[in-house]
């Protein structure tokens, strides 16, 4: 029995024989309906493009003015990290760390890691420490929450417009785009094909 030809459902453990999927297809478990494996179109190129775009957007989001506030003649300009630093100063180091990790650090590790893996693979080279890097990407991926962060930013803006003028900066638009780019990168990644390139260890 060639075990590579089989896949066990991650949610109900039913054993399935792998089949070749049409481009863009998803294989689902016949018993519980969980997604088993996918075959996104042009997976490598698309994911690489999205991840590289994401890295650039994340850098812009961290360097340029994010939001400014104008109330009663008082003006205050912030960058993305300002609120996190302020939470830390107010005696909330753990909450500040949580926001920093889920909002900025984990998405950056995921995007930069994907570029590191996929760029050499595109030219048929095997990146150094491929397995370790991919395992790190898989571990931090679910904890990256740029889309939730974006919703939080929008709610904060709506909350504050009742008492102040809010001016959105370049970093705000970069972050808004970023949350879509992260989702697109995750959707186009074919994890199966990366695993298959990792040869069996002796």
């Amino acid at each position: 029995m060639d075990l590579d030809a089989y896949v066990a459902c991650p949610e109900c453990d039913l054993l399935h024989r792998r089949q070749t999927l049409p481009s863009g297809g998803v294989a689902k478990c016949t018993r519980c309906g969980a997604a088993l494996y996918r075959s996104p179109r042009n997976s490598l190129d698309r994911t690489l493009a999205m991840a590289a775009t994401g890295v650039i957007l994340l850098i812009i989001a961290n360097c340029y003015p994010f939001l400014s506030l104008n109330v009663e003649g008082q003006f205050r300009e912030t960058i993305l990290i300002t609120g996190i630093v302020e939470l830390y100063r107010q005696g909330m180091p753990l909450v500040a760390t949580l926001v920093l990790l889920c909002g900025i650090v984990f998405p950056f590790i995921e995007l930069a890691g994907l570029v590191y893996l996929l760029l050499p693979l595109k030219f048929d080279h095997r990146p150094w420490r491929m397995l370790t890097v991919f395992l790190v990407i898989r571990a931090v991926g679910p904890w990256g929450m740029t889309e939730v962060y974006l919703l939080g930013i929008l709610i904060a803006i709506i909350k504050l417009t009742s008492m102040a003028d809010i001016i959105t900066g370049a970093a705000f638009y970069a972050f808004a785009l970023l949350s879509f780019v992260v989702a697109a990168a995750a959707a186009s990644l074919n994890a199966d094909s990366i695993w298959q390139r990792l040869t069996v260890r002796q």
Binding site: L3, E11, C12, L14, L15, G33, E86, G103
Partner: protein
Amino acid sequence: MTAARYGLVGCHDCRQVSRPRPDGDQNKHACPRCSASLHPRKPASIAKTWALVLAAAILYIPANVLPVTRTTHLGSSQTDTIMSGVIYFITSGSWHIALIIFVASIVIPALKLVVLSFLLISIHWRWQWRPEERTRLYRLIAAIGRWSMVDIFVMSIMVGLLKLGLIASIEARQGIFFFGAVVVLTLLATESFDPRLIWDRMEDR
């Protein structure tokens, strides 16, 4: 037939199916592809999930009772809990914001605790009832769980922007720490739960 029935183990991460060597300790078997340690089911899933659910349920109380913010506006200041913040938005006419915060911060964490407890009890009593729907319930809370972080992100933006001393400022209070702990614990609880246990009970028949 499940992989376990064939004596096979599917890697929880890379999905590679492999057969543990019959002489070796089944719990020390490593995935031939990604070298993760393999277990037929997540180890101590039920005990871990119960522990995280109970811890989150206890912290859910201070998260909702203690104030999460202190707002100063033109010299007067007031503290708000998550719920009083929601009520403030209903009364000020922003019912859609109130709804998002209410669902993300109050309903979703509670729903996750109720659903996980229900699934754990159903496994304990070996229910045969609708395994497919119960798996879907698990998939639902796994998908929506991350959105309860939204209030923490809102806070991180507000404290950074609104810092104009007595004119207008906002400060985080201890409630937000407990709320953050609830969110992280419920996310970990969802991750430690193994939905395959729902289906194992079906095979016991």
